[in-house]
């Protein structure tokens, strides 16, 4: 009995120590930092204040948050509009092709996202593939300004995040019973009615997972606007990175991080609601 208690004690202590130091403490520290004051000598110091939150939400940062949300939302919408039909096509593919199609979707996703962002730069440069091709075809004779625009940032995000939308949608739609669709069609439902009445309601959890997997990174992948957006297009991620590493205003960066966490939580609520309650195994 004693030996068994000892194992329980040791493993619990190790687990708690790790989670306490490397998960709980850092998160608490971010919270504390966000209400401290910036200090030239020791980075942060008392007095406690909510000035950083005030600054972040009013002092001109609100447009950044809104803009960031807008870019992320547009990217997510594009991913959904492209990813949904694509996921559906994969589920309808023959057994021979389906694994191949999925694998082809996964392979670029296995290459570092940094490299995928960089590949987008190569495409969009003034002397990049798109401009060279268009000039060669005689459609344009002066290179288009594609790089360092919002368009470039969104292409980069779309390119990086599309698989994150397709995969949960596929997992969800694959479970859809195809006889249901046939039944609906036999009953005289039009394609649109079948989609609206049968397919769409069934796929809501998949859509929500996909949206979360795309929307959240879209706000924080700071290197994508950095490579593609000319440093004028700032997302929340860039703002936080800038505050911490360039300006050195930790409280403000921490406050922005806390706000980002809250946005994340807000987004997760519909996800929790859409998921069936996990059956909690009782020991």
């Amino acid at each position: 009995m004693r030996a068994s208690q000892r194992f329980k004690f040791i493993s619990l202590s190790i687990t708690w120590a790790w989670f306490g130091i490397f998960v709980l403490a850092p998160i608490v520290l971010i919270g504390i930092t966000s209400i401290l004051t910036q200090n030239e000598i020791s980075i942060v110091s008392t007095p406690l204040t909510i000035q950083s939150f005030y600054d972040t939400l009013t002092g001109g940062y609100a447009p950044i948050f809104l803009y960031s949300l807008l870019i992320a939302a547009t990217t997510t919408l594009l991913c959904l509009l492209i990813g949904y039909p694509f996921a559906f096509i994969i589920t309808r593919a023959s057994n021979r092709f389906r694994p191949l199609m999925l694998m082809l979707l996964m392979i670029p996703f296995w290459v570092s996202s940094l490299i995928r962002a960089y590949a987008m730069v190569i495409m969009l440069k003034a002397q990049g593939l798109i401009n060279i091709a268009l000039i060669y075809l005689g459609i344009i004779y002066k290179p288009l300004h594609l790089l360092y625009t919002d368009f470039a940032v969104m292409s980069g995000l779309l390119y990086n995040l599309l698989p994150f939308m397709v995969l949960p949608l596929y997992a969800n739609l694959a479970k859809l019973d195809h006889t249901l669709i046939e039944a609906a069609q036999d009953l005289g439902a039009t394609r649109w009615q079948t989609f609206k009445g049968v397919i769409l309601p069934h796929s809501i959890p998949g859509i929500i997972s996909g949206v979360i997997l795309v929307f959240l990174p879209a706000m924080t992948l700071f290197y994508i606007p950095e490579f593609l957006g000319g440093a004028k297009t700032l997302l929340i991620g860039n703002l936080i990175q800038h505050e911490f590493l360039v300006i050195g205003n930790w409280p403000k960066g921490a406050a922005a991080s806390v706000i980002l966490m809250l946005i994340t939580l807000l987004l997760l609520i519909p996800y929790w609601k859409s998921q069936p309650k996990p059956t909690r195994a009782k020991s």
Binding site: F7, P26, P85, V111, S112, I115, Y159, Y223
Partner: protein, 258 residues
Amino acid sequence: MIKINEKIITNCFSFLIYAFLYIPILVVVVYSFNKSQFSMIWEGFSLKWYRELINDHEILTATWHSLLLGFLASTSAVLLGSLAAVCIKRYKFQGRKLLHGLVFTLVVIPDLVMGIALLILFHFLPVPLGFWSLFFAHTTFCLPFVIVTLHARLGQLDKHLFESAKDLGASEFVLFRQIILPLLGPALISSWLLSFTLSIDDVIISYFVAGPSFEILPLKIYAMVRTGVTPEVNAISTIILGFTLLFVVGATLIRRKK
């Protein structure tokens, strides 16, 4: 007639998506063999950039560091994660809910926030930025994925097995080592592989906690893209892509054989 049309449309649509996914990467691969340094104009086939890569020992060291870090961090994540999963699954203790919450938080917290949180933590702890900070950070962000995988697997195991083992006088440690771990075998391996890929691929968290004495590959690539050292990036991307393909094809073949 309608059926054929639909087929053409879906095929075209899929083709366009795959084109969108593959053309940029293929361009990178093709241009890794281009002689020219800055322009996209084809100046002839050359292995120059690969030669530069092989001679660039910073890249080689960074690659070695990334592999080492991935190996160590995923191993410790699997060790810690299996302990944690067993604790959460088998024991009642105070703060179990909190632990649950922390695991969940780790899954959903944006990488960026985690990176910053750890940066602040290491500011206060006597941990130099370098190998150790990266090791702690990587182990931590791999942990929840290990725990979730193992927790699910534990739920599928036969409880009676544990009880009979205990009846036969096995201590908790013996039970853990001789019964639970072997039964978790495949789940341990798959969570190790998942951790390894997460660790190798991470940019954002490492960006905040890395130090000069331990450079890793993703950060090296980040710096190269930023400063515009492009042909070498093309070459290294091609090599990474090659390894990825080998790995994926190999894994598929092995699974087929089974």
